[in-house]
Amino acid sequence: MASPALSQETARWRPPPLIKSRRVRCFLALIVGLYVAAAFGTLDINWARVADGGPRALRFFSGFFPPDFAARWTAIVDGLLESLWMTIVATALGVLISIPIAVGGARNVAPLPVYFFCRSIMAASRTFHEVLIAIFFVKLFGFGPFAGVITLTFATLGFYAKLLAEDIEAIDPAQAEAIKATGAGWLQWLDFAIRPQVRPRAIGLAVYRLDINFRESAVIGIVGAGGIGATLNTAFDRYEFDTAAAILLIIIGIVMAAEYASGVIRHRLQ
């Protein structure tokens, strides 16, 4: 449906650039280019050591084969079971504690002081990586799964409460208004107007966090917080690379299974 009145100029349409001024665009490109070049220049690469690394890596990885499941089987099973219950306990606890914090951290539900209080709890939990928190709790409570559970619970809290609070803020206000208009009390209002609207996401997030917590439980074990990570660390310390390989394979298998399962569950909830 080209109109004959269209000039050659208007027919050659291009999307408008992100940065309007051509001069600013060129200047920015130049700065970025210079910085990248300078950064590479600063990087001191000792090519001899890189060359040495090749054969060493080969030796290291050949130590992984064949993976040995048998030699430390009981230790591996103990570590796995510990990781699993750490994950489940921490996720359940974390979600339970998160729910009131999420409600308090949703601007359309909570008054301003409560909102700030709950949001700062979330921020505190999200500031540090699980490994740093684990190091802290291991110092407080000593080695073992207790420190791990506390770490994962604390980490779950920031993640779950924040995302749930955001979902509460995104509810349809008309439904909430309608329940309020019936003369319902505040808790009844939460139960009838808010809960049904956020439930699918709440379940989906919990399953997703379960999956993350298992992965994290393997990592925080390395800094002393129990679980399969501790078993893995011990294997490395003893230069039992074949056992370490076996543990890594099991972790990969479980993580993949958990990710698949949580994907299926979350997909069903949509």
Binding site: Q175, A178, I179, A184, Q188, F192, Q197, P200
Partner: protein, 278 residues
């Protein structure tokens, strides 16, 4: 004795918009009033000031002899039970069943734990079933609200308002998202139920022919002020121009039946006149 009395009601939003400007309105018991006016005239604000979903800036609202505008939160929740509200776009809780939506109208009467476990009193459940039958939704109680059609959803909305056993119905654009035929059916249902139960009702509606057809009294709102208050028959082109602004009202009028509450006639006209509306 008026059922509802608005005294010098004013609402100014924090943005500075004056939604209601010293409105005085008396609605006697059992009367169905249609509130018409262009978008932004303050219709929604007015009915929300009655149950204080919106806090009026000044003025008083009285239901029977109780001053709603003076109530503290607990008493306010109690008086909200006596005011059923029906919404534009239905405002059902989409993921709850039809029955839960209807029973949510009883939340003001039952305790938290009963409602948490969905253990409502037998009488409430019996009433819910008979209301569902009355609005034509027999057998739908376990469907999820989002599985229903627009007309069915609004019927659930009506049942939810009525199970409160209200004295007053606040109805906000009940037909805004319905097709013309369903709109008439819903309006008919609402007005029938009002006369069956001697309910007072304030119905916001921007469809003038529907207002004419179903209301006993029409109040025209323009920029937060009442500019017309009278019988549906008094809505002459001049009055409509005063409410809505300049338009060829007679041309629009010819699309509809000029008669007032003649239901039989309008029933017959349902078939032929769908194309002209909206």
């Amino acid at each position: 004795m008026p059922s509802l009395f608005l005294e010098n009601l004013t609402k100014r939003y924090p943005t500075g918009d004056l939604a209601l400007d010293s409105v005085w309105l008396e609605v006697p018991e059992g009367q169905v009033v249609a509130l018409i006016g262009p978008s932004g005239a303050g219709k929604s604000t007015l009915i929300r000031c009655v149950n204080r979903l919106v806090e009026p800036t000044s003025g008083r609202v009285l239901l029977a002899d109780e001053e709603i505008t003076a109530l503290r939160p607990r008493r306010l929740r109690r008086i909200r039970r006596r005011m059923g509200m029906i919404f534009q776009e239905y405002a059902l809780v989409e993921r709850l069943t039809v029955m839960e939506n209807v029973l949510s109208g009883r939340l003001g009467y039952v305790g938290f734990w009963s409602s948490w476990f969905r253990r409502f009193p037998r009488d409430d459940i019996a009433t819910a079933f008979s209301l569902l039958e009355r609005v034509g939704l027999t057998g739908m109680e376990d469907k999820r609200a989002d599985a229903l059609s627009g007309g069915q959803r609004q019927r659930v909305g009506i049942a939810r308002a009525l199970i409160q056993d209200p004295d007053l119905l606040l109805v906000d654009e009940p037909t805004a998202s319905l097709d013309p035929k369903t709109s008439r059916q819903i309006m008919r249902l609402i007005t029938e139920l009002c006369s069956e139960r001697a309910l007072t009702a304030v119905v916001n509606i921007h469809d003038v022919p529907l207002a004419r057809m179903f209301a006993q009294r029409v109040v025209g709102l323009q920029a937060g002020k009442i500019v017309y208050d009278g019988l549906p028959d008094g809505l002459t082109p001049d009055v409509l121009t005063q409410i809505y602004g300049e338009e060829d009202w007679l041309a629009a009028d010819r699309e509809y039946a000029p008669t007032g509450n003649n239901l039989v006639k309008s029933e017959l006209q349902d078939q032929g006149r769908l194309a002209g509306e909206g």
